[in-house]
Symmetry: D2
Subunit: 138 residues, 4 copies
């Protein structure tokens, strides 16, 4: 039930050492969250951003092993906590069996003027379903 | 004695909500570290990367308040721990008195093939001087 | 026979005006060229860059209409000229029937130390096949 | 009288070949234009974008020689034509005496809904002064 997002390591992601420049990983994670909101929550960013957004409040990331140009990464996103207007997510990026990156983030649903607002009921239920599914998997 | 790095929020940093897109903050932090290695440690990245690098092993970041296009940020970098081949850094980015971002990272000095190697003595001493200075400030 | 590369306009591509920030289009075009080298020329960038590269020597771009977050772009790449060690490409990016961007570029195959080198015969033939196909289409 | 913008080549600009990844040059050019609007035209982007913008309509770029990490670039911007609501600019980026990049662009002043609007008189005069100065220099 975890959401999976494939991402090949492209030329643009890599630095002079031939490995992913770490700020580019955050673009990948953001793309993954954008796809999750679109495909799972049915709350596409392009619609959501007409009336607000979901800024990231915090993110802690560990880069276990470097990723190289051409590597096929698979990013797995799980919902770990659902708050009134926030959600905590965890990410694991692997190349084959090797873990490259793990991260935990919290994002907050806000209005256009930046104040937090509660998840719509349907969205909240979808988030809770994902969280629930996750606890059963563990 | 903390290292300070001014950074105006530019058009390229901002998203459709008119605030800094969070992966861009990591480009700013990387620029700050690159300037610190150049100006304080006298170990410029362009020289260092001929024989290795200083990949970030982990970074935890909290985005306290959004930053807007045109904001004048001041990023303060402090050395919080010096290991044999690693160093821990802390960052605070402020606009005036308002804290926008805080982060703690650990980076590791590596050879060209990615194995950790000890800090050269002179570099280690410079890092320790910074760490020492910081403890006295606190 | 033209190579087609779909690209949704994502949050990361857009600026405070809600439209694609033009430097991000060049990342899209580079991704398109990287996919063309991989899928059509069977010369993946991750292999190619072990021994050289294909730097862009020039590119002229016209932005006909702005693209917005969520737009589904289709980028079409055509080979317009094949030189000894260079190739000229043309790009059209459309959203539905509307042209958003057109570009013409020239890239050059180089060795690791940056000197031009001739296309391998098999690659050259694949480029010529594409160029030929294009003239018949027109 | 030409506007000059220094830009060191940083780690983030460079690709696995150790040279500037060409889409990053367009971020540099955009930063240069943003500084020109702020410092010369006294029309800072952060103010301008409240009511519209200056999207780039076209840009033609030639990459004469690669730039490497650590190179000190100097970007020179000149005004080559002033239209009712548009302006054409030329750019030269050099490292010392060596030309790395030349570009010509046209940008257009637009309202928030994307329609072109005439330059304010004071801005137009500043643009014309720059264009005039340039013809005398040549």
């Amino acid at each position: 039930m975890a959401f999976q997002f494939p991402q090949k390591v492209l030329f643009k992601h890599c630095d002079p050492a031939g490995i992913v420049f770490y700020p580019r990983y955050f673009e990948m994670l953001n793309d993954c969250v954008e796809a999750f909101f679109d495909e799972v929550l049915e709350m596409p960013f392009e619609t959501l951003h007409a009336t607000g957004g979901v800024p990231t409040a915090e993110i802690a990331t560990r880069f276990h092993r470097p990723s190289r140009h051409g590597d096929q990464l698979l990013i797995t996103l799980a919902v770990t906590r659902v708050g009134r207007s926030s959600a905590s997510l965890s990410f694991v990026a692997k190349a084959g069996e090797e873990t490259r990156l793990t991260a935990q983030s919290t994002l907050v649903l806000v209005t256009a003027d930046g104040r937090s607002r509660p998840w719509p009921d349907a969205t909240r239920q979808k988030l809770l379903d994902r969280e629930e599914a996750r606890s059963h998997e563990t």
